[in-house]
């Protein structure tokens, strides 16, 4: 009896806590940063006019006044007017899309949420395309970016309002809402094409395919504030996003002002997506793929996931852009086509896996 009186499980569980899971985050961040730097140098050197990596480094050092040496006139021009703005743009767009994907998945509490899948990229593109087709220039260089932002924001709010119930978004509702939004955005873009003249049509086609081919320094400067502001603000909300995974009410019970958090994050997502879409057109699946792979590698904690996805997104996009312009030389694949080609099968696999885990869509 004396033995039975003592709860038998306590002795087995109340001892020392087991060792924590190994933290892979810092290591992964370090690896991604190193890979990103290497890829940027490689991407600046490779292309129709090859520049050896050593010369790229030399020219970079020369311009920053740290030694090195300038290239010949052509090399210098290719590197500084064509390659480097393109690499810089790929970095900004990739980081924005990766980060926006991680935030959006956190806000929707659904790992399948992504700016492209649920139609926010398309909404931002409608804004951008409309501004081209209607010949709007009221804000100069910024017009397209601002219109993209307004389009993206309106779409985020719409999807958000339409697809949530009880603080959660079921997969089916989200995807179906995405289909509807994408269809509507497609129709609006079609309408703009119908109204546009042939020069504008060429410009519009660029949005629909997604590309960094027209990268210039002014374009980099046009998106820089949007992207940097969004990326700088996002990590602040990491801990609250963790809590939001518990659901809306429990998050509120833990002191999160859920309404305010949602509003701010929706604004940040629209800002980041608009920044990316304004210069690169519709580039899908980066925001889906990157946070997913990182979650598998380093766990779902947003303190790593949000900045990590920005880093990973930049890495993926620099690599994808390098591939887009080198695999079919001298022709160039549209970047959006390439990411969709690689991303769609991944999305398909993800759907299958989610369905198997849930045992149906319920």
């Amino acid at each position: 009896m004396a033995l039975l009186a003592k709860p038998p499980e306590l002795s087995a569980t109340d001892g020392d806590t087991p060792p924590r899971r190994r933290r892979t985050g810092p290591l992964l961040a370090l690896g991604m940063t190193a890979a990103l730097l290497a890829l940027c140098l490689l991407s600046a050197g490779l292309g129709a006019y090859d520049i050896p990596v050593g010369d790229v480094l030399g020219s970079l050092l020369h311009r920053t006044g740290l030694g090195g040496h300038a290239l010949d006139r052509v090399g210098e021009s290719v590197l500084w007017n064509v390659r480097l703005p393109r690499v810089a743009l790929a970095l900004l767009v990739g980081a924005s899309l990766g980060c926006a994907g991680a935030l959006m998945q956190g806000v929707f509490g659904n790992p399948l949420a992504e700016p492209g899948v649920i139609g926010i990229s398309a909404g931002a593109a409608v804004g951008a395309v409309a501004s081209i087709a209607l010949g709007l220039t009221f804000l100069g260089n910024w017009t397209v970016a601002v219109c993209a932002f307004v389009g993206g924001l309106a779409t985020v709010l719409l999807v958000y309002a339409l697809s949530r119930s009880g603080g959660r978004t079921e997969v089916v509702t989200l995807i179906l809402t995405g289909i509807a939004v994408n269809a509507f955005a497609g129709a609006l873009i079609g309408l703009c094409v119908f109204l546009a003249d042939s020069a504008q049509v060429t410009q519009i086609t660029f949005w629909q395919l997604g590309s960094l081919a027209q990268a210039t320094w002014p374009k980099v400067l046009a998106v820089l504030p949007c992207a940097v502001a969004g990326l700088a603000v996002a990590p602040w909300f990491a801990r609250k996003l963790d809590l939001l995974a518990l659901g809306e009410r429990p998050a509120r019970h833990l002191g999160v002002d859920v309404e305010r958090l949602r509003l701010v994050l929706v604004l940040v997502v629209a800002l980041l997506t608009a920044a990316a879409v304004a210069v690169a057109g519709i580039v899908t699946f980066v925001g889906l793929l990157v946070p997913h792979l990182l979650r598998m590698a380093a766990g779902p904690g947003h303190r790593f996931l949000v900045p990590g996805s920005a880093l990973g997104g930049a890495l993926v996009l620099v690599a994808a852009d390098l591939a887009a312009r080198t695999v079919a030389q001298p022709a160039e694949l549209p970047l959006g086509v390439l990411t969709a080609l690689l991303g769609s099968p991944f999305f398909f696999w993800l759907l299958r896996r989610t369905r198997r885990r849930q045992g149906g869509w319920a």
């Binding site: 087995a12 001892g15 087991p18 963790d242 002191g255 002002d257 509003l263």
Partner: protein
Amino acid sequence: MRSLFRSRTRHLPLPSPIGTVRAEARALRVRLGGRTVLSEVELAVAGGEVLALVGPNGAGKSTLLAALAHDLPAESGEVWIDGRPAGAWTPADLALRRAVLPQSAELSFPFPARDVVRMGRAPWAGSDAEDEDDEAVRSAMAATEVTRFADRSFAALSGGERARVSLARVLAQRAPLLLLDEPTAALDLRHQELVLRVCRERAAAGDAVVVVLHDLGLAGAYADRVAVLHRGRIAAEGPPSEVFDAELLSHVYMQPVEVIDHPRTGEPLVIPRREG
């Protein structure tokens, strides 16, 4: 935009003597989906006691708990928490004062159980109490016997294990008011007893505990006071020995019951009357 990012000063709860009223419903009436779910509810819970809410399905137990947690707006009447109307606290201040265990535990992303428990410490981030984080998480996990699977993903746990991890999260929050919605529903016999012992310990330490229970035996054995809800009203309220009246319970549950005293402890036992 600035108001969206400003950091506000928080009001840390002061330690209060046992017996201080932690939550109070005053002439509370709540409507949900066009139907009055609670009306004329007067109820208070003080530090040092365990208050059980019992009643048949749909009587309004969970609604009352949600109203006390300030999840649902009152149509009329009001809820006070820690000496102020609940709406007068900011979400951050409220989180320092009351912890809530929801009926079902869900998680959007596969966090390990330990991280889920640690989420309970979020309200204290940046305060002096942050130093207690590790100790609070450790003792909450020990109290609910979840230490063994602390590193497993929450999604991979059984229903009962998830319920205990969620309870550990609520305990780790160390708020002076605990609102628990059916904490024993998914648990086996041993862990049902464990959870209510934990409730008693927290009450003994000065916290106020409100717990929704279906098992009248548990309510009779562990609660200081029981409130019986019936069609959105409190039909009876008081110590279990007074409230557990065969006639009242038979009427409320629409099921004839007998109430007998436990031969050893004297606790009231409620048993459905079965013919045969």
